[in-house]
Amino acid sequence: MTLLLLVSSWNMAGLYSVYRAIKKKQLIFDEHFTAALCMVVTMTSSFFMGLFLKMVFPGWTLFAVLSGVFISWKFSSLLRSPAKMNGLYNGGMGGMMGTMLGAVVQNPALCKITAESAAEIEMLPLFVACLYAITLLLVRYSLRA
């Protein structure tokens, strides 16, 4: 759990730096880049936030979903109106799926997972955090270019 907290605070700092970079350069993007960027960032970050908040606060499911919607709203309000709709949809979807994965990690019997593989399912949030960090690196690389 301590490792998860460390990795997720690192990821939050990465997300904030991406937000700052988009806010600084928002006028020079074209249509296609805006739509792709909005979809990628909101989907992955709301998925990760839903999973992480469901792991830390197990009772607050609605809070985990709404935090995904909040992140996607903050990001998509920087961009233009068709991207706003895309971002809100993807953010809600990602938040719900992340919360679902968090619920399965806490109670593996929900998906009829056997006891042998239930022991190692604790590694799954760390794997998701590593993938999210790689995605944020790629997004930051595309923003610099």
């Binding site: 296609h32 880049f33 792709a36 960027l37 979809m39 990628v40 989907m43 992955t44 998925f47 990602g94 799926m97 679902m100 994965l101 399965v104 593996p108 929900l110 998906c111 009829k112 997972i113 056997t114 042998e116 593989s117 239930a118 190692e120 399912i121 590694m123 799954l124 794997f127 998701v128 993938l131 995605t135 790629l138 997004v139 595309s142 270019a145």
Partner: protein
């Protein structure tokens, strides 16, 4: 679902993916940016879905390992199809494959009647393939 059929289905899927990749690589100049984005998303998502569901039905006792494998499959397929076109298509295919690959083994292990759902997912994959072929021919 007989366990005999599943490896053959997986083999046929891998074959279809490689054939379609060569086809898309040859027609790369014809495909616009919008169609390219949709191709990379659909290919990454269906690859992750198929590998997750079929592998979980084949080996039900290795849930975490299969989640990792299907996520990496989705990421690689989406990224390969996306790299044909653009950096943004690459990012979109990568993340879509990642999310679908994390979800697919959960669907596979919660299934009640696995046979029908396996055929349904394969039907969706084949119809997506046929539709993409038609749109590439038209463009």
């Amino acid at each position: 679902m007989e366990a005999l059929i599943l490896p053959y289905l997986l083999f046929i899927d891998v074959l279809l993916y490689s054939v379609f990749f060569v086809y898309a690589f040859r027609k790369k100049k014809l495909i616009g940016i919008q169609l390219g984005m949709n191709i990379s998303q659909v290919m990454g998502g269906t690859a992750a879905l198929l590998s997750g569901i079929v592998l979980v039905l084949e080996f039900p006792f290795h849930f975490t390992l299969i989640t990792v494998v299907s996520t990496i499959t989705g990421i690689l397929t989406g990224a390969l199809f996306g790299l044909l076109f653009d950096y943004q298509t690459f990012l979109a295919g990568l993340t879509n494959g990642m999310i679908a690959g994390l979800m697919a083994p959960m669907i596979g292990s919660a299934l009640d009647m696995p046979g029908q759902v396996v055929w349904l997912v394969h039907g969706i994959f084949f119809s997506c393939l046929v539709l993409i072929m038609i749109f590439i021919q038209r463009s």
